[in-house]
């Protein structure tokens, strides 16, 4: 095993981790504010990938425009789901919301299969994204650098938003206590809607990244990355944005190194490894790496 191989594995871990982190942020934000594990989150990732495909293939949009479209589509779908499925059952037991999100997920997946068929699709990526760039002894594709940079920019922007803007502060207040937040004049439903919109937009961008990197997308592509991003969010500490980011990178790196460094006969156990890690982490650190033991809210 040589240094360059190891380095390229680390790079791959960073890329996969960036995508997991973006999806995990949404899980964490939504859980933080409504105590709901949104199973349909992985499907928004899929929708992001298809929105990318559509805006490249149909309207030949340049890449920054594609990015903007994907962000908007993701946010809109997130808002729609929240409005149609979750808001009507606000206040119901947690399990109800969880099953509702599974139902939403099944509806989206079948709708996707019906409309675009289950056949995987490839899409053409602009040539400049595939250009190889020498970086620290490695030849890295432009798209790989773009993924990591874009992810980091979005995450910094989000952290700044939540930390310093009025809406961000209000979202943190809402996540902590609905009633007191309402007494401040905060519209709870609006804050929940914003959390859904932001989280979904980020998941959609992760879908764009996944599609451009691997060049192939399908209606069910979001199931496993979605679940794994949830694992990442739990590892980091559900409810914490920095935790989700950390968990995303830890899981992405661990998964790539598990496959890359162990003998090939183990690589088939990739998924078992991820979920085994989840169970292990939950047992050792029930609140994840950065999560604090929060109050139990029904």
């Amino acid at each position: 095993m040589n240094g360059a191989y190891l380095l390229s594995q680390v790079a791959n871990g960073l890329i996969l981790g960036s995508m997991y982190a973006l999806i995990a942020i949404g899980f964490s934000m939504i859980y933080g504010i409504v105590r709901l594990i949104n199973f349909a989150h992985g499907d928004i990732f899929t929708i992001g990938a298809f929105a990318t495909l559509a805006s490249i293939a149909v309207i030949q949009a340049p890449f920054p425009v594609v990015l903007a479209i994907v962000l908007v589509v993701g946010a809109a779908v997130g808002l729609l789901i929240e409005r149609a499925a979750f808001r009507p059952m606000r206040g119901a037991p947690q399990v109800t919301g969880f099953i509702a999100s599974l139902a939403v997920s099944i509806i989206i997946e079948n709708l996707a299969v019906l409309t675009v068929s289950a056949q995987p699709r490839t899409f053409a990526v602009p040539a400049y994204l595939n250009r190889l760039i020498p970086l620290g002894g490695l030849n890295v594709r432009m798209i790989d650098i773009a993924i990591v940079l874009l992810a980091i920019i979005l995450m910094i922007a989000l952290v700044l938003f939540v930390r310093f803007t009025k809406i961000g502060v209000a979202m943190r207040a809402t996540a902590e206590n609905y009633d007191v937040a309402r007494l401040m004049g905060i519209n709870i439903n609006r804050m929940i809607g914003i959390a859904f919109a932001i989280g979904s937009a980020l998941a959609a961008v992760a879908g764009l990244m996944w599609g451009t990197k691997y060049g192939q997308i399908s209606p069910l592509m979001g199931v496993l990355p979605g679940l794994k991003a949830f694992v990442a969010a739990v590892i980091g500490g559900v409810g914490s944005i920095t935790g989700a980011v950390l968990g995303g990178y830890v899981l992405g790196m661990a998964e790539v190194l598990f496959v890359g460094l162990l003998p090939p006969e183990y690589s088939g156990y990739r998924n078992a490894f991820v979920f085994g890690a989840l169970i292990l982490v939950l047992l050792v650190m029930p609140n994840g790496i950065l999560g604090r033991s929060t109050e139990q809210r029904a």
Binding site: I37, T96, L102, A103, I106, V231, G268, A272
Partner: protein
């Protein structure tokens, strides 16, 4: 209205006999396609009622049933396949397994037992988790079991799966295990053990203050659910004569959980009713979706119905109650007797 315990046995006996008559009638008259549909409905009843022990009685939100079905299905299949066929299908099978040729019932029970054993081993760490975390950990269990099924090629034949299994499952077997499942779960729910479980669901802290061994009860209900799921897995694969790592996916977990939740967590009658209605609905929609070339539409409709029920009746259709169906069906007869 819930049926008190002392009226359960006679009612159960009546229902069982009527059911047996219907089964005999169906077995003699219906074509194999319809019979297989009825068997799937029965399997769904077994799955929903057994998951209800874990999710409904004690309030553990498990999605792990497909994992236990996979385990039970593989174990039963490997034990039942005749050695000569095993030599062709699974040349690398360890010698002690390759020589086995069990009859159906012991193989089913062995499948259930291994599933229960897996539940026992997994349960100790996993059942310390709560709510969502438990749900996702058990969901992860499906993927873990799947990974092993794909990769332990010597025993499972990997992604190809085991095909051409003997067609051993018939309506009588399914009916028998339906009865066993309902009987066991009903007696459990109305025993002191079952009431303890319901107490844990309602208020774990209070239950543990009263000296209830909460952890032990959790494991017990998880293991019992897994045992029955393992048996259902064995029945299932000998009905479709095929098992592969993707036979039992998390979509199935969703469907079973929906039956439990819509029926009302804890209500056996509710679980049975919703299992029947949902299976029939799916079967009725299937030809429609095939004709219209809209594959997946039936799943969508079911999911949509689920959403509507959750929004309008968040506690499920029956809560924990057991509506007195037999009494309700018998009412016309009673009236005529009185008149």
């Amino acid at each position: 209205m819930s049926a008190p315990r002392n009226t359960f046995l006679p009612r159960f006996a009546i229902a069982a006999l009527v059911g047996a008559a219907l089964v005999a009638l169906a077995d003699a008259n219906l074509n194999p396609y319809l019979l297989s549909i009825i068997q799937f409905i029965g399997l769904n009843i077994i799955l929903a009622v057994s998951l209800n022990v874990t999710n409904g009685f004690i309030g553990l939100f498990s999605l792990g049933h497909p994992a236990f079905m996979t385990v039970g299905g593989y174990v039963a299949a490997i034990l039942v396949i005749p050695p000569e066929r095993k030599a062709a299908l699974l040349p690398d099978l360890p010698a002690f397994l390759a020589a086995q040729e069990w009859s159906f019932l012991p193989a089913l029970i062995a499948g259930g037992s291994v599933a229960a054993l897996v539940a026992l081993i997994v349960g100790f760490p996993v059942l310390r988790l709560r709510g969502h975390y438990l749900a996702v950990a058990t969901l992860g269990l499906i993927f873990i079991v799947q990974s092993f099924a794909v990769n332990l090629r010597g025993v499972t034949r990997g992604a190809l799966g085991l095909s051409g299994l003997p067609e051993l499952t018939n309506l009588w077997w399914v009916y028998l295990f339906c009865l066993v499942t309902i009987y066991v779960c009903w007696q459990l729910k109305h025993s002191s053990l079952g009431r303890t479980m319901l107490a844990i669901r309602e208020n774990e802290l209070a239950a543990s203050c009263l000296g209830v061994k909460v952890a032990r009860m959790r494991i017990l209900s998880f293991v019992l659910g897994a045992f029955l799921a393992g048996i259902a897995g064995g029945l299932w694969v000998h009905l479709v004569t095929l098992i592969s790592p993707s036979s039992f996916s998390f979509i199935l977990a969703f469907e079973i959980v929906v039956m439990v939740v819509l029926g009302g967590t804890g209500s056996i009658t509710g679980a049975v009713l919703v299992a029947v209605v949902l299976s029939v609905l799916t079967q009725l929609l299937r030809p429609v979706e095939e004709a219209a070339n809209l594959f997946g539409a039936s799943q969508m409709i079911v999911a949509f119905v689920v959403l509507v029920v959750l929004i309008t009746r968040p506690k499920g259709l029956f809560g924990t109650a057991e509506p007195d169906l037999v009494g309700w069906l018998l009412r016309p007869f009673r009236k005529s007797k009185a008149a």
